[in-house]
């Protein structure tokens, strides 16, 4: 398939691997921020092909995984309100909150629907004008513009039963939080390809400037990822940290201005609670004053008990790159894809799920 097969070419992959093996002399620890990268790395078996000097660590880039338990508990409580329809992306259905999942709530009679986009959720709202629809707006800078577009469309059409619970999160502040915590010693970052398509490669300049480490933006095919790893190894060996855009067929230095404007029109930046990272300042998106009519948090206040993380679950540490999934005492014993305890085992972008599904046998 055009634009795919070229980036999976086994011969070119071998050539890149040869270059990485030749260039890499010092041990490096590289974090792939994005869960999509983790998934691809495991799916194509890239870790086993890299030299032992290159260690890859999974980061917090899984929107489902970083959603705080308290936010999930609020969403479940909202789903139980009479008449309410909750719409969400599929993976969210299976994440355990303090008391069960959205999927359990659905089996108990709550109206929870799986959608593929915020516009699908808007369609459900239109089709059920007498019932409030709450869309659980999770995701990074990739999904936020589409949610902004749905809100503007709802406003234009006077759809007054469409609400969102904005749980959006921003990636650069989370990367900073991980580096500032100093728990993991990182030599470089594999930058998220889809997010950076929106925010622009320049958004990562703080990594070489403030932290002295390189960043290589990568696409999601094996050659994209290997090329980014080579760029990182090369910059680390040469002591020339910079932002290297290895996904230029999608990412521009300034990003997608139209998407940024949409986000900025509807949302303002505020604090957000991340699973694993706690409250990170300026890392969330809140609805601006003039769009408060769409704010589910405002219109459907629910009381929840203090949320509990599942006992023994180390998803928080996995999301910070401190713990590898197999080091968690629950991994594969108690916590499995069929009976997940923590979100990293649920989401297809979660590190634990990738380890389970694609283990090297």
């Amino acid at each position: 398939m055009k634009y795919i097969d070229e980036f999976r070419d086994p011969e070119k992959a071998q050539r890149l691997l040869h270059l990485i093996h030749k260039r890499s002399t010092h041990p490096v620890r590289l974090m792939e921020f994005c869960g999509g990268h983790t998934h691809a790395i495991f799916k194509f078996g890239l870790r086993q092909l890299l030299p032992c000097t290159v260690t890859l660590l999974s980061g917090p880039g899984c929107p489902v995984c970083v959603t705080a338990s308290s936010d999930l508990d609020r969403a479940i409580a909202m789903a139980h309100l009479p008449g309410v329809i909750v719409a969400t992306f599929g993976d969210m259905m299976r994440v355990p909150g303090s008391n069960g999942t959205l999927q359990d709530a659905k089996a108990q009679g709550a109206d929870v629907r799986m959608v593929y986009s915020s516009l699908d959720a808007l369609s459900i709202a239109r089709a059920n004008p007498d019932r409030p629809l709450i869309f659980l707006a999770i995701g990074f800078e990739t999904t936020a513009p589409t949610v902004a577009a749905a809100i503007l469309q709802a406003q234009e059409e006077d759809v007054d039963n469409f609400f969102i619970l904005s749980l959006h999160k921003l990636t650069p502040p989370a990367t900073k939080a991980i580096l500032d915590a100093g728990e993991v010693n990182l030599s470089g970052i594999i930058g998220p390809g889809h997010v950076t398509t929106v925010i622009g490669a320049d958004s990562w300049n703080f990594l070489p400037n403030d932290y002295g480490i390189p960043c290589a933006i990568a696409g999601f095919e094996p050659l994209d990822i290997l090329w980014a790893i080579y760029a990182l190894v090369d910059m680390i060996e040469a002591h020339t940290p910079a932002v290297s855009n290895r996904y230029a067929r999608s990412v521009r230095p300034e990003g997608n201005r139209r998407a940024q404007e949409l986000m900025d029109q509807v949302f303002q930046i505020g604090p957000a609670e991340w699973r694993g990272l706690g409250v990170v300042p300026s890392s969330g998106l809140l609805l601006r004053e003039q769009y408060r009519a769409f704010d589910a948090a405002l219109h459907f206040p629910v009381q929840i008990s203090p949320s509990q993380e599942p006992a023994g679950c180390r998803c928080g540490e996995v999301l910070r790159g401190v713990t590898e999934p197999p080091q968690c005492p629950l991994f594969a014993r108690v916590c499995t894809p069929e009976h997940p305890i923590g979100p990293c085992m649920v989401s297809s972008e979660g590190a634990c799920a990738a380890y389970m599904q694609y283990s090297e046998a």
């Binding site: 398939m1 795919i4 999976r8 086994p10 992959a13 071998q14 999509g36 495991f42 799916k43 194509f44 078996g45 890239l46 086993q48 092909l49 929107p63 489902v64 992306f89 599929g90 993976d91 299976r94 999927q103 359990d104 659905k106 089996a107 108990q108 799986m114 593929y116 999770i138 995701g139 990074f140 990739t142 999904t143 889809h194 997010v195 094996p222 499995t336 894809p337 069929e338 997940p340 297809s348 972008e349 389970m356 599904q357 694609y358 283990s359 090297e360 046998a361």
Partner: protein, 338 residues
């Protein structure tokens, strides 16, 4: 186990298997059921060589009409294929309908006509049936159940438990067409290329294979849960390992594109007109040749082999030269978020 039935219990993955083991097999104690093949096979009395095969399946697909087929065609093919997968020659089918109040009669007739056409093609007769109508909202348009009975020819012993180290794994053609055709239709996605379900009765293909060589150990149609799930089922049932070469598994361009767009994996997408055969190595070339001569097997390929190592596990050798587990899915496959 969850306290309530979840939708994921019906996805054909691990949760479905848990449900079968923990609820159905716990109470239904028949050794024939415990074989867990697509159809039950038994001999009426020890004095006869005749073996019967019986199977049943319910069809609840949305949308009821999709590119390349409809719920009626599916209801015939599914049951005919379940019989074919134990090597049986399908003879008679039943057809039961649960209809939702308000279903257009023209839709019903179109579905029934499609069933009749497909039954003709497969050479089976529908000889008994039942109809129930429920209030609007208590069913989704139309649910169909079919059961089928057939005869297993003398000398045929096909079961998911029969794979042996050294056997060859054969796939009858490109994967993912049914799953992606239905999913695209459901999501209102339109592509510039055709994406049609591969829904087809496979009994004549199986008959041709058996005629070429009887040394077929396992047959299974990779429906719900896709190729990955079927291979895992066979590895577990036979307590053998299976090794698959990723580069040999044919994925049509259209399926590949739709998978990339939706963020799903073709190895887990449903097929309704394909089969996986595990055969003795000596039988490989004769069976491949016979399959390639058949209209439903023209693109047949060998995709791997059976090994004594890592029993119960399927290993995928990736195109880049790495290897990893090809696991069953825990629940339904879901499109990615970002």
């Amino acid at each position: 186990m969850a306290k309530e039935v979840l939708l994921a219990h019906g996805s054909g993955g691990k949760l479905t298997h848990d449900l079968i083991r923990n609820v159905f097999l716990k109470h239904f104690r028949s050794p024939l059921l415990a074989m867990r093949d697509d159809a039950a096979v038994w001999r009426h009395s020890s004095s006869t060589e005749v073996q019967w095969a019986l199977t049943t399946d319910s069809y609840v697909i949305q949308p009821i009409f999709f590119p390349g087929g409809d719920i009626g065609k599916l209801a015939i093919c599914g049951t005919v294929n379940d019989l074919a997968m134990v090597g049986a020659q399908p003879l008679y089918l039943t057809a039961s309908f649960i209809l939702e109040e308000g279903l257009p009669l023209s839709d019903l007739e179109q579905i029934v006509a499609s069933m009749a056409r497909t039954a003709d093609e497969a050479g089976v007769e529908i000889i008994t049936g039942d109809t129930k109508v429920v209030d609007r909202g208590n069913a989704d348009q139309i649910f169909i159940n079919t059961a089928g009975v057939g005869i297993v020819p003398k000398g045929v012993h096909i079961s998911g438990a029969n794979a042996q180290p050294g056997d060859v794994v054969i796939l009858s053609g490109p994967i993912g067409l049914h799953g992606l055709a239905v999913m695209s239709q459901r999501e209102g996605l339109r592509f510039s290329f055709p994406l049609h379900s591969d829904c087809a009765p496979l009994n004549s293909l199986v008959a041709a294979m058996l005629q070429a060589d009887m040394r077929i150990h396992c047959l299974r149609d990779p429906t719900r849960g896709g190729l990955a799930t079927t291979l895992n089922e066979l590895a577990a049932q036979s307590q053998v390992g299976i090794e698959i070469e990723e580069a040999r598994v044919p994925i049509p361009e259209s399926v590949h594109a739709a998978c990339e767009l939706l963020g799903i994996d073709a190895f887990y997408a449903a097929n309704e007109g394909k089969l996986v055969a595990i055969v003795a190595p000596e039988a490989e070339s004769a069976i491949l040749a016979a399959m390639r001569r058949h209209p439903h097997g023209r693109e047949t390929v060998t995709i791997g082999h059976v090994t004594a190592a890592h029993p119960g596990k399927v290993i995928l050798h990736t195109t880049l030269g790495a290897h990893r587990i090809l696991d069953m899915l825990a629940g339904a496959q879901l499109p990615r978020i970002c």
